[in-house]
């Protein structure tokens, strides 16, 4: 387990009336961590963080077996525990912030679109934002819950890879994008008794101690779902962080990165998935990693995605699994010593799992040459395979910008490199159609 960053930096934040009111990051490149709460109507993020995680309140759906008050308590408890679990898991990445939003009016749920639109402007270009939210249905002792994960990068930067066939500058450059940047996770079931036990486990394991010693007597870090979580991280030493709280105990907390013992994740494996998405955003963030190697972060990402798949199975959340394969493919594609064949296989898996997503099919099509003998862009067979895949993607979404972009690149290249076996006899006409469709989409 890597260190979480040394001294020489500090985060100061004061909570006022439940909203983030100030965040001062010490100067220097050292990692920073912060935690806060804010109302949905005024969502906040930590501008200095390389990656921000925003937890929206889990909202409940009407149930004949629970009254409004009970449902609200369940939703609030889950949201608060999710924030703690996310925070402790993401500390290992360094330079992270997490904000839990709360509803001022429970009858008007927090709108993820509005939240993302407002806070993404405050995320520095190239740095990451991930949002998790969910819905809950309570039936007697059973709590059914479903989470959703969405992410973006500051500065409207897109998640994409350049796929170069042939010599750079004289070959064919295609562009791969992710199948989606917002996915539903597999629904899960948990009992209210489980929730009680998890909360108790949190109280036992997340204790605030006077020194960095697990043997020292500690005070549990209380979860008060209806109150803003009032804590400031003022120092991090190894995997210990020093909290200052306005309403609770202050001192050192051990932030374990060995997450297998964490009870909530056993019931909500999507928290591991969310952690992996945060890791992906962090490893590619404009703010560089410090104190942890990119390869180590990639290893965490891979293992978290694998754990999610193992926990829920591929059929329960195929789009989420498709996205995770594509994210792993992107990491492999762009790493210093790229493993293009392995990346292409992951992209092919992504397309197979989400055949109804045009970007997934297009990604599989353009990376496909790494799974075949020829990667020569002038080879008509190579062109034809890419063309077939792109047209299959176009069929599921006839106006998809990524697909049309790649078709234009392919047809332009094919026109400039005439072949005795052209992929289409009317290449010029098709190119005109593609360009017109792209122009129409831009208007």
């Amino acid at each position: 387990m890597p260190g979480l960053g040394g001294g020489g930096w500090a985060v100061r934040r004061s909570l006022c009336a439940g909203a983030l009111s100030a965040l001062a990051l010490a100067t220097g490149a050292a990692p920073a961590h912060a935690i806060g709460t804010a109302p949905c109507s005024d969502p906040q993020v930590f501008e200095g963080a390389a990656v921000n995680a925003v937890i929206l309140p889990y909202r409940f759906e009407p149930s004949p077996s629970a009254d409004f008050g009970e449902l609200k308590v369940v939703g609030d408890r889950i949201t608060a525990m999710v924030q703690l679990e996310v925070l402790f898991a993401m500390l290992k990445y360094g330079s992270v912030g997490t904000t839990r939003l709360f509803n001022e009016d429970p009858f008007h749920p927090c709108d993820p679109n509005a939240v993302v639109q407002r806070v993404i402007e405050r995320v520095r270009p190239g740095n990451g934002l991930a949002v998790i939210w969910g819905r809950i249905y309570v039936q007697g002792d059973q709590v059914y819950l479903q989470s959703y994960v969405r992410f973006a990068r500051g500065g409207a930067e897109k998640e994409e890879i350049a796929v170069d066939l042939g010599p750079e500058g004289r070959g064919l450059r295609l562009v791969g994008r992710l199948p989606a940047q917002a996915v539903p996770m597999a629904p899960r079931t948990i009992t209210r008794r489980d929730l009680d036990q998890i909360q108790e486990a949190f109280r036992r394991s997340i204790a605030v101690r006077p020194s960095r010693d697990e043997g020292a007597a500690g005070t549990p870090l209380e979860i008060r779902p209806r109150d803003p979580f009032d804590a400031t991280i003022v120092d991090v030493q190894g995997d210990w962080m020093k909290l200052e709280s306005g309403t609770g105990p202050s001192g050192w907390v051990r932030a374990r990165t060995d997450s297998t013992d964490w009870a909530l994740r056993r019931f909500m494996p999507e928290l591991g998935y969310f952690d992996a998405v945060l890791g992906y955003l962090r490893v590619n963030a404009r703010t560089p990693l410090a104190g942890v190697a990119p390869g180590t972060v990639s290893g965490w990402i891979t293992s978290q995605f694998a754990a999610y798949e193992e926990a829920v199975g591929g059929d329960a959340a195929p789009v989420a699994v498709s996205l995770s394969r594509a994210l792993r493919g992107f990491l492999l594609w762009t790493k210093p010593a790229p493993s293009r064949e392995e990346a292409a296989q992951l992209c092919a898996d992504s397309g197979r799992l989400a055949p109804h997503y045009a970007e997934a099919r297009a990604l599989a099509a353009i990376t496909g040459p790494w799974l075949h003998a020829s990667r020569d862009p002038a080879d008509p067979d190579t062109q034809r395979r890419i063309d077939d895949g792109l047209l299959a993607a176009l069929a599921v979404d006839p106006y998809n910008a990524t697909v049309l972009d790649n078709l234009e690149r392919l047809y332009t290249f094919a026109q400039a490199h005439p072949s005795p076996r052209p992929i289409h006899p009317d290449l010029a006409g098709r190119l005109a159609v593609v360009r017109a469709a792209r122009a129409a989409a831009r208007q």
Partner: protein, 278 residues
């Protein structure tokens, strides 16, 4: 259609304390936007559910789990809201004979895409339910409507049996029946076919080809028998319908300079016709 519509059926009462009748209700909420998928009460043995309230609790939970697109507007641009409705008290008989021409036309005009119903059973040992099983019918309303108009030979009914071969046994009906991507495929087929009938050829093509890819996955999962044949027939029907949508688009001035011109009506979904994805 207003109020309940009841069809008496001799010998249909093998379930707990429910009347010997198949009942069809109007479960589409007035003023509801978008499309609807209706989940009916199943015929249930006492081993499956000890009473009707227990069954209804499970169906409400299943509705929650299947309704994964509830937050679709926050995930990606969608074709329009698809609402899942658990129709409490509605119990079609297994062969679906209640869905006659008049009822199907009503459902079609109400933008109902899918009707789901079936039967459930289980084993009980030591008071604990295990080895839940089910037979679920999916009626693609726009396809059945077209069949009633003699536009197509396919009846639009698919019957799937759960658990599938190789699936681990479970006593939880929600876990047994929660196959959201199967439903995505059927919804896309129904929506695509409705769009084809109504002249929205680009919407039709996209949905039909999405459906073809998803139904190919269902088909690949099935090991054989009637269900696999029905899935194969539905996929073939969907691909042919996509070809019709594309051919119609090519003759329609609204689409004649657009990207649909790049596709081939003989193989509109490029690969899904062969039963595979990319």
């Amino acid at each position: 259609m207003t109020g309940p519509r009841t069809i008496a059926l001799a010998g249909a009462c093998w379930m707990f304390a429910l009347p010997a009748a198949a009942t069809i209700l109007n479960c589409r909420t007035a003023g509801q936007d978008g499309y609807t998928v209706i989940l009916s009460e199943p015929d249930a043995t006492p081993a499956a559910f000890k009473d009707a309230p227990e069954m209804r609790r499970a169906m409400n939970a299943l509705q929650f789990v299947l309704d994964q697109g509830r937050d679709g507007q926050w995930l990606q641009p969608s074709n329009g809201a698809v609402n899942f409705v658990f129709c409490e008290g509605q119990r079609p008989v297994l062969d679906g004979r209640e869905f006659d021409k008049t009822l199907v036309e009503t459902l079609y005009n109400q933008s109902v895409l899918i009707e789901m119903w079936g039967s459930v059973d289980a084993e009980v040992a030591g008071g604990v339910r295990s080895r839940a099983s089910a037979q679920i019918n999916f009626l693609l309303v726009p396809v059945r409507f077209a069949a009633n108009q003699r536009e197509t030979a396919l009846g639009g009914l698919l019957r799937l049996t759960y658990p599938e071969a190789g699936a681990p046994p479970t006593g939880d009906f929600v876990e047994l029946l929660a196959r959201p991507q199967d439903l995505d495929g059927f919804v896309a087929a129904a929506l695509g076919y409705k769009a084809l009938r109504e002249g929205s050829f680009d919407l039709a093509l996209g949905n039909l080809c999405r459906s073809a890819g998803l139904i190919a996955r269902v088909e690949a999962r099935l090991t054989g028998g009637r269900a696999k044949a029905e899935a194969a027939a539905l996929r073939q029907f969907v691909v042919e319908a996509a070809g019709r949508a594309l051919a119609a688009a090519k003759g329609d001035h609204r689409f004649q300079h657009g990207p649909l011109m790049l596709l081939d009506a003989a193989d509109p979904c490029r690969g899904s016709a062969a039963g595979g994805g990319p």
